[in-house]
């Protein structure tokens, strides 16, 4: 090989250096782009959900002058509670709408007019009257919830459905739009804070559907899970860290816990269906069964976190306790456990947060049922917050898109609070030894 002149060497090195620096720069760029993509996905996700969902916190109400007409409600004048309860309140709404808009004369236009007010309006009137029977025969100004299509239109979420456009998919007729605009200009149509969404159970009508039932179901489930998984998980962690001998059984348990943590959640649902529901004959759709399934699912998470917390307690604490005459059990329960508890609680909260967001196993044990009434206890049929989101996401009504996103925002808020609590616990009580 011929000797290179220094100038030639220099030239070659310079050329290769330029190439190498270029590829260095490119590589770094790839990394930065990946990071930005990760952050970008999160932003797009949040923007979509908040953009779709913030509208659901406001609800359109229509003010009507309703006469509690005794001729309609109580034609025989008995004033019995039963008669009043089963009377036809929707007739009141219809009459009041017709006096407001006398131009609706034929059947179709009347039907269109009646469609402006939600069917929940009649229930509201019923409740008012039952609470105060003296209203019978009087006339009141009442704000009634509007129908979901009116909601969609008023909040401007149906751009294709403006007046006069000949679109096929439109849900409101020109007449209905004109009425809505009249109501709006006379101040009889208002957007208010949506209390129905936070206090009602599920409903087929989007404007009447709320998350309270699902939230209660989730709450009962998490209660069962926490009540079972935390003591069991802590006990298992104590045994494995402090007392377990080194033998094959303990090895099997350890491998097994690590594997259980990675088993797909739907498999736990199959277990719940086959064992709790078919074998033990527990009721379907009950938060108790859901809680049991979630317990088995979160147990490995809690065990792993609790073991880490126990491990972080320095051996000197144990030796000191044993040195002053404590039995091994006293050493653990009087000294190690209190020191490890904050770490265990952090792990438990994170496990609970995961359980709260889990829905696949709940589908298996029948928690997808359509339940209107909020559950009264862990045995009554109910659904859970994430399952409610799934159910609404599947509904064809456009107004449910908004509700789904809003329910997601509530779920994420719960998760945020739980995770913040975990972070706070960690920073407040964590001790560096």
């Amino acid at each position: 090989m011929a000797m290179l002149t220094p100038a030639e060497t220099r030239r070659r090195v310079d050329a290769s250096l330029r190439r190498r620096y270029r590829s260095e720069w490119l590589f770094r760029l790839y990394g930065l782009v990946s990071v930005l993509m990760g952050v970008g996905f999160l932003l797009v996700l949040f923007a979509t959900i908040i953009g779709n969902g913030y509208g659901a916190f406001r609800q359109v109400f229509i003010q009507l002058e309703v006469q509690f007409d005794p001729a309609v409600l109580d034609p025989e004048g008995t004033r019995q509670q039963d008669t009043l309860a089963s009377a036809d309140y929707s007739q009141l709404v219809k009459t009041s709408l017709r006096t407001l808009f006398p131009d609706a004369e034929d059947r179709t236009s009347r039907r269109e007019l009646n469609a402006l007010v939600s069917s929940g309006g009649a229930f509201k009137l019923q409740k008012m009257l039952l609470a105060d029977p003296t209203l019978l025969g009087q006339t009141r100004n009442v704000w009634l919830p509007a129908d979901d299509e009116v909601n969609v239109f008023v909040k401007g979420r149906a751009p294709a459905v403006s007046a006069g456009s000949g679109d096929e998919g439109r849900r409101l007729s020109d007449r209905q739009i004109a009425w809505i605009q009249t109501l709006e200009s006379s101040g009889k149509l208002e957007q208010r804070f949506n209390t129905i969404f936070f206090t009602a159970g599920d409903s087929r009508e989007p404007e009447l559907a709320g998350i309270w039932g699902a939230t209660k179901g989730s709450f009962f489930m998490l209660f069962v899970t926490l009540f079972l998984a935390f003591p069991l998980g802590v006990a298992a962690a104590i045994y494995l860290e402090e007392f377990a001998p080194r033998n094959w059984l303990v090895d099997v348990i350890e491998v097994n816990i690590n594997n259980l943590a990675a088993v797909p959640s739907i498999v736990f649902g199959l277990l719940g269906l086959a064992v709790f529901i078919n074998f033990f004959g527990m009721p379907r759709s009950a938060p108790l069964v859901g809680g049991l399934v979630l317990t088995l699912m979160t147990l490995p998470v809690i065990i792993i976190a609790s073991r880490a917390a126990i491990k972080s307690v320095p051996p000197s604490v144990r030796e000191a306790a044993l040195g002053v005459g404590a039995s091994p059990m006293q050493m653990v329960f009087h000294h190690v456990l209190p020191l490890a508890l904050p770490g265990m609680m952090t792990g438990a909260i994170i496990g609970m947060a995961r359980a709260l967001g889990e829905s696949a196993p709940l589908l298996m044990i029948g928690m997808v049922a359509f339940v209107v009434e909020p559950p009264g206890g862990p045995m009554s049929p109910s659904t859970a917050l994430p399952v409610q989101i799934y159910l609404w996401a599947d509904s064809p009504e456009r107004a449910f898109v908004e509700r789904t996103s809003a329910a997601i925002m509530v779920l994420l808020a719960f998760l945020l609070v739980m995770n913040a609590a975990a972070v706070w616990l960690r920073s407040r009580f964590e001790r560096r030894w």
Binding site: S34, L42, N259, V387, L411
Partner: protein, 462 residues
Amino acid sequence: MRLTTLALILIAMALAAFYLGRSRAVAIGGGPGKARLLHSLPKYYGYYTAMWCVLPGLVLLLAWTALSDSVITGRVIEALPDSLRNQPEAQLGLTLNDIRNLAVGQMVDEARRPEFAVAAELYNNLRAASQKLLSGLIIAVSFLGFALAWWRLQPKFRARNHVELALKVALIAASLVAILTTLGILLSVTFEAIRFFRQVPFDDFLFGLTWSPQMAIRADQVGSSGAFGAVPLFVGTLLISGIALIVAVPIGLMIAIYLSEYARPALRRVVKPVLEVLAGIPTVVYGYFAALTVAPVIRQWGDSLGLDVASESALGAGLVMGIMIIPFVSSLSDDVINAVPQSMRDGSYALGATKSETIKRVILRAALPGIVGGVLLAASRAIGETMIVVMAAGLSANLTANPLESVTTVTVQIVTLLVGDQEFDSPKTLAAFALGLVLFVVTLILNIIALQVVRRYREQYD
């Protein structure tokens, strides 16, 4: 007596036993403050008596609830008239169900038949009697246990050791729950799967190319007898998980590399929590995002390029699943990259390598086994992921590798087969358990391999 009242009585008895046991210990030890004669602290004698008061009753309660129903049912069947008793197994089950429904006051179709009413009454009577007997027995057993413990309380008695032994047994039992869970999964899923394979041959299921689980419910109904070839599901699952991994592995890996090798601490402090948030978002939210936002966008792009895109394309579900597992891949890779010793980096720099050359030729090669383990774990998670595909992937079992078409996955089919009312002996329902068995075994194998690889890798540098 209701179960809650019984529980309250037991708790009250336990408290009483604790105080009685403790005060007796103090008394036999020579009075308050002078308990030097005792082996254990007085409270341990209290715990001991309380334990003996409650535990036998609890054991009895558990055994009773496990056994009583079958005993009662047996008695009810014996009392049935011959025409009802000699029915085939399945019919008998339905009859019993009707009787139970009638017993709790629900109306039953055939409720007018007087035998049912008689049987239901017998059932109710037996249950009431069993409840009374149980309450009496439990209280008696609790007294007996308490008396036994009371009688054993002596100053030399090692109460603490006994209590601690019981506690230790409880701890061991708690750690066995994890084993029982695995066993429960394995047994229940395998048991139902075996029932399925009795009706559908094993190789038809594993190698069959058509999946249409719609079974004729009545024998004379027009319709298919159902085809249970699961290959389209496996291919669909692989396709969607493959797309997810193609998205997640490069991005996740590059994020981990950038954060651990290039990023300034300030950036790391911002990005890491953001990724944790991404990891903490429930999958149902991703499913909603995939179905409502990503799928329409992909469809639009496809249309503008003149491609025929299904509205529930594999691509949409795969992309969003990829986003979901990015934080998973990046945090696992981050651990692995940080475990590579600094000396290897220094050696590479000393030879004149640039930072990216060091990463590509030294760090990534050293970390490869760990990264492969992480990717396997991510794959197992993608295969088992349910909500995203249930909401954004299709139901029709197309055997295709085209990501723009609609495919279905194992998890989607499990959910569709099991949601809603089902009868427990039709192959349609049992097929879900066979699919569950496949899912469990595959993810288990992936996890075991991945955990082994990662562990061996860690040991290499520790």
